[in-house]
């Protein structure tokens, strides 16, 4: 049953050290506000799951929140590398990072299997490439009708599913529209769920057959305006491409990165303060 609370309370109540956590949103609606709150509350040893890690995982990894990352494509879209992810994998900084690496098709199917309460997903995939050589969670099953061998991956059923959505109504029913990615699956397959939204409205009035999460499958709803920034929220604000571009230089250097997070994330109490802190300068300055 959806409880309305601050994002700080939602994270404190539902996310614990060592949890498996997914923060989904395919380019659209990436839950940056929630990711920052994980950093502020200094969570540790998380297994972080995202099909496309993006800057939010770069920040979490660089701040030492993650013991393991499950992913399929870890880059800064249209810009280049995720330098903090690379530094963790290449140089174990700030700590070693275990990785479980899939393809998009594998992870998309794994989220569906998770929402379906199945232990595994079946797909045509991982054919004739090296992914399964380095990931023993890519296996096979045999069709009991045709004898054909297919790929199998374990279902994604995280402790906590965190997403950002456009809006909720006063009961806590959530509407997502535009690119809906794997958000529905991330919530339905999770033990607990946190949804940040742009706003609360009196009536949700969803279009026919749109993506709605009823209040009784959501644990916490927190209003975080702009909570997907520098990603975007269709109908609210555009993707902040200069932020993504500016991030490259910030993340490239350990010290610049650390100063940036200390100043703008750890040095602020919530996402609106963070937004004020970086205002007017793309991703803001790194700080002294």
């Amino acid at each position: 049953m959806a409880e309305f609370c601050s994002l700080r309370d939602a994270v404190a109540a539902h996310v614990h050290d060592g949890d498996t956590v997914t923060l989904e949103g395919f380019t659209h609606l990436i839950p940056f506000g929630a990711g920052h709150e994980l950093i502020r509350q200094r969570l540790r040893d998380l297994t972080l799951i995202r099909m496309t890690p993006d800057l939010i995982f770069d920040q979490l990894i660089g701040m030492g929140c993650a013991a393991k990352v499950v992913f399929a494509w870890g880059g800064n879209p249209g810009v280049g590398s995720l330098h903090r992810l690379r530094d963790a994998v290449e140089n174990h900084w700030p700590q070693p990072l275990e990785i479980e690496e899939h393809s998009h098709a594998g992870m998309a199917n794994a989220f569906v299997a998770g929402a379906s309460n199945l232990p595994f997903a079946v797909l045509r995939g991982y054919k004739a490439n090296d992914l399964a050589k380095f990931n023993d969670r890519i296996r096979t099953v045999t069709c009991p009708f045709t004898g054909e061998e297919l790929a199998a991956v374990p279902a994604i059923r995280p402790d906590v599913g965190i997403i950002h959505a456009q809006r909720a109504d006063r009961q806590g029913n959530v509407l997502i529209h535009g690119i809906v990615g794997l958000q529905k699956e991330a919530v339905l397959g999770a033990e607990r769920s946190i949804v940040t939204v742009e706003e609360i409205v009196d009536r949700l009035d969803p279009p026919a057959n749109s993506c709605v999460l009823p209040h009784w499958v959501v644990d916490a709803v927190a209003v975080v305006p702009g909570g997907a920034h520098p990603s975007y929220a269709l109908g609210y604000y555009e993707r902040d491409n200069p932020f993504y571009i500016a991030w490259d230089a910030i993340a490239k250097d350990r010290e610049v990165f650390t100063r940036w997070v200390e100043r703008h994330v750890l040095g602020t109490t919530d996402f609106s303060e963070f937004r004020a802190s970086i205002d007017g300068a793309g991703a803001g300055e790194a700080g002294p």
């Binding site: 395919f26 380019t27 659209h28 099909m51 496309t52 992913f71 399929a72 494509w73 870890g74 880059g75 879209p77 249209g78 810009v79 590398s81 995720l82 992810l85 690379r86 994998v89 290449e90 690496e101 899939h102 393809s103 998009h104 098709a105 998309a108 199917n109 989220f111 569906v112 797909l123 045509r124 995939g125 991982y126 054919k127 004739a128 490439n129 090296d130 992914l131 380095f134 535009g178 690119i179 809906v180 990615g181 794997l182 529905k184 699956e185 993506c211 975007y232 269709l234 555009e238 993707r239 491409n241 200069p242 993504y244 571009i245």
Partner: protein, 259 residues
């Protein structure tokens, strides 16, 4: 730069765009593939159907998206489906004619590495990873690869096989029961390559204007061969160039890009 001149990047994008037939259903990777696919749509292939892995089907962006899920893709699409549906119903379902991919490294049999340079557990360079490419290359009717050519990208041996081309060549691919034809064209800033019938080794079939064989061989990490008949790539038409430039100018304005 006058309209008569063009850059090697422009030649690459134009040459790649021409590969896409009108009405083709194309699964589009971000970056160069997206640029080329949209140029095709804005020139000779107005009915090309562009599918992006985030969910948009039939996207018609008037600017180039920076990411694979920009708002303009959703807003301009015929429909937007969940990401898993793209991979399950549309790609695996067999509805994609062409997969249009980029690559970090490619070998002579068009096998692609986008995972690591060096060893997996102790990489010299950790690349972004597989993304959608392995299953696109497996399940699309055929694959076009667009990438810059150089000794660091066209390598004798890839360090990690992320996405299968023709594997060891010959019928290695079919033998494994892979349905899609694989990479039938590789378009670079220097030339166009295609798998040689039989061996499936990539050979140069078309050379861009002003480029020499020596230059192409120098930019290739293996002993590159040329097809028996090699043509010169037709240079970009004025329409192709002006359409591409206007598209990129709109994009730069919209993204507030001061790079």
């Amino acid at each position: 730069m006058s309209e008569a001149d063009f850059t090697t990047n422009e030649m690459m994008t134009v040459a790649a765009a021409r590969m896409l037939g009108d009405g083709t259903v194309c699964f589009v990777g971000i970056g160069l593939p997206s640029q080329a696919a949209n140029l095709a749509r804005l020139t000779h292939a107005p009915e090309v159907v562009l599918i992006y892995e985030s969910g948009p089907i039939g996207a018609k962006p008037d600017i180039l998206p920076l990411s694979i899920g920009d708002g303009i893709l959703a807003q301009s699409a015929d429909t937007v489906v969940p990401t898993h549906e793209i991979f399950r119903y549309w790609l695996q379902g067999g509805h994609i004619d062409v997969g249009f991919l980029g690559a970090a490294q490619i070998d002579r049999f068009a096998n692609i590495n986008t995972t690591v340079i060096g060893s997996y557990h102790r990489p010299k360079v950790r690349l972004p990873g597989a993304g959608g490419a392995p299953e696109i290359a497996d399940q699309a009717g055929e694959v076009f690869v667009i990438m810059h050519q150089g000794r660091r990208s066209f390598v004798d041996k890839i360090d990690f096989l992320t996405t299968a081309g023709y594997l060891d060549g010959g019928d290695a691919r079919e033998k494994l029961g892979i349905k899609g034809k694989g990479p039938t064209r590789v378009i670079t800033d220097l030339c166009i390559l295609a798998p040689e019938p039989g061996s499936k080794e990539l050979v140069v079939t078309s050379i861009h204007p002003g480029v020499t064989r020596e230059k192409i061989r120098a930019a290739t990490g293996w002993d590159l061969r040329f097809a028996n008949e090699v043509i010169e790539t037709a240079q970009p038409t004025q329409t192709e160039l002006s359409t591409l430039r206007a598209f990129l100018a709109r994009t730069a304005r919209a993204h507030g890009d001061d790079r």
